[in-house]
Symmetry: C2
Subunit: 530 residues, 2 copies
Amino acid sequence: MSLHGLSLVAGSPGRPGGVTFRAVNPATAQPLEPVFHEASLAEAGHALDAAATAFADYRARPAADRARLLDTIAAEIEGLGDALLQRAHAETGLPLARLTGERGRTCGQLRLFAQLVRDGSWVDARIDPALPDRQPLPRPDLRRMLIPLGPVVVFGSSNFPLAFSVAGGDTASAFAAGCPVVVKAHRAHPGTSELVAGAITRAVTACGLPAGLFSLIHGGGASIGIALVKHPTTTAVGFTGSHAAGRALFDAAASRPQPIPVFAEMSSINPVFLLPGAVRERGAALAQGLLASFTLGVGQFCTKPGLVFALRGPDTDTFVAKLAELVRAAPSGTMLTHGIREAFLEHRARITAVPGVEALAQGGGTADIARTELPPSVATTPARNFLRHPALATEAFGPFALVLLADSADEFQACAAALEGQLTATLHGTAADLAGARALLATLEQKAGRIVINGFPTGVEVCPAMNHGGPYPATTDVRFTSVGTAAIQRFVRPVCYQSLPDDLLPPALQNANPLGLLRLVNGAPTREPL
Amino acid sequence: MSLHGLSLVAGSPGRPGGVTFRAVNPATAQPLEPVFHEASLAEAGHALDAAATAFADYRARPAADRARLLDTIAAEIEGLGDALLQRAHAETGLPLARLTGERGRTCGQLRLFAQLVRDGSWVDARIDPALPDRQPLPRPDLRRMLIPLGPVVVFGSSNFPLAFSVAGGDTASAFAAGCPVVVKAHRAHPGTSELVAGAITRAVTACGLPAGLFSLIHGGGASIGIALVKHPTTTAVGFTGSHAAGRALFDAAASRPQPIPVFAEMSSINPVFLLPGAVRERGAALAQGLLASFTLGVGQFCTKPGLVFALRGPDTDTFVAKLAELVRAAPSGTMLTHGIREAFLEHRARITAVPGVEALAQGGGTADIARTELPPSVATTPARNFLRHPALATEAFGPFALVLLADSADEFQACAAALEGQLTATLHGTAADLAGARALLATLEQKAGRIVINGFPTGVEVCPAMNHGGPYPATTDVRFTSVGTAAIQRFVRPVCYQSLPDDLLPPALQNANPLGLLRLVNGAPTREPL
């Protein structure tokens, strides 16, 4: 499948001529064909102007049109066949099996949003009919629903080249909400991005929708990203990446003349608390599960468990010894990019340099820098160190976990209270352990967006009940999820119609309830017409 | 009823000793007893620390406890009797009849939130049960609901001393959500604030809740407000007031190490479009309705219609003449404060100084500055001026409206497209007018949070379908309403529990559905147990 290496601005290829770059195969350190061309600021602006124009059309379309677009994108992505997986494999070093699964998740997610949009009740329609005879004043007819915000800028992530990138959860939920999307492609996988952008563009055309509904922008450095966020027609931003980059986008958005929301999913160390009964009963299985979780995707998951708290004692000693043994036997893996590898080593060094932190084990085998490889590793330290050294609470994005040994359950509680915001917090315990951990649970609930019991935080289900979010710095907006159907709520706003004639109302709010939605009428949920 | 003039910090009176001030009766320009004492920054911090402690208790309480608190506050406010109304009258100059209505609205609002909390389904419970046999991977049990954010800082407004102040909509919805509240009292009605704060404090005690659940802070200038917003335990802010003050709070919140949401309801000129059929059929009634709406509360409503667009022609000439006649016959009114009166005169002067703006009429009678009075007034200008002079799009908070005469429906459309964000936009038209105004309607929907047909924007119903919000600068967050039951959504966040044992789950998510909530199970709404 040939690649042109250009941005895609409202269905048309961008201009060559500016700065160029190539993707690099991390498993070989070799640059890949073709050359990619960074978009100009003018092209980025043109993409957003076209998105604003397309918005006026797209937002007025029936839900069926949005659903068809989402389904068609999924089919177009599947239509790319193995070429997509092979390019993604070359650009990221991720195994083909993983990428096959990620493609399934990406297409499944698009279809889930199509289903949500067809069902339609997500618009939270509310009707309070007129009370003309009410005293002292009549009540007018009031009807409210959620409508799309406008053009959304999405920043592709490094670690999910499909599921959190060009046609990932942000794009799917924005299209579902009724918003056009401009994607800033991640520089590490521009070819994968171009292939998926082509699929979206073909779907937009096939569905008879305006070309401005979607653009893909190649670019490097912060300037084009900031320009996309600052563009006057941008109404919201989705981002997955580092704390520094996410915060820069947030600050840019907040300092606009008209501030806009930024949904940045940034930094999380995903603490795991091992309660004593669980360590006693299944310490070896915990060590195995933990290794699998913190080395999944070579540790490059936002939900990677980076902190493991356990109570000192012989059972924990056995668990730690088992973990060390497993880590020593574990192979190295290829990181996504050379830069991520370097950043990981720097962050890990900052953690292991803290007094009292001791290396516990490192994976066997050679870690070939020419293959961007890294071995898994674990270190250990007394839990009380956690309260003294903020460096221990920072993320090292890669295959590393820190085991913190506590002297008491009170120390667990103190460490939990000292945590920053997290995507997840995990407890392993027997029924008796958990019954005694209510206070710990209550503290963790204030720190994390998802509480995991007797499982591991990696693996984020795409479903209505998922919450992939959390207090800052896990995200910039604790009130929203970036995974699951509730992600659509990021890109909408309510509007209220007072005394609008029935035929001018959107179908969702018409008396006859032609869409068959579940609506709140006089405060009570019903599918009945008025 | 005697007033102590002190802040109320977690149930205890603040310290005297700092800067002092008095309320002023705007109708007499006389200062009122007693002297009020500004809180120190330490007291403000203490209030928020106490709120954080109270939060740990309050958030764990059953919904019935929150509902009882809200009902008890309403009863305590009613128990203050006429003393409350008289003090509010003395501090604001608002008529007793209006204040009686506003008290009813305030207590009704508290009880509406009590009802919402008792009903409970607002927590948006979602359950996706485990699928242990799913291929290729099992699905864990996932359950999600909305939980409270934490301590909320509320800034009382000048123009609604009861309904948007100490126990107003922000406080009611925050308490309903499960959040403690620290109110910064508005300096113009500190006595009213103290009385209502006393009612809340008694309710907190009567319900056996921690005293830190509520504090009232007196203060002047920006510093204490910024300190409240910047305090590390503050998790959200509610504000009603000027654009400058709201933006300053927003900027302070966004620049925190951990940014927090600010729900500032700020500035709106609430455009009204008069379509030709309506002007022809009921021009005189429109003039009457408009006068009543833009002079309600002496024009000091955030939904005051400040811009009136009409098409040139003989019917409009008649309408304009009628409006001028009515305005000339209308009495002056006492403004809330001398400062608001001065600011109004300055803003109106900026508007009327625009070339092409002509004074049309001013109310008769004398406007006594010693009574803080202002006459109603209207001016007129060609609508095309609106596209040239940004000053015409600014709010003059007081009894003034600008009539803009358009040459064509296209000019309507161009002016609508040039509007900034608004709380409301209004259309008056016959059925035929409205059928031809779909494009205008679509544009206004992008500019305003509420569309009003053949009515006036003042009068904001408190109900599930209300949206009192809108694009910036109407508010700092277009995604939320500050009036109606959906206002609770500002102060909550989702949390997901993965594989939590049933007895450790919150009742809202337990298998048996003990609260009888409407929940989304496998994506479908149901009240059935699992």
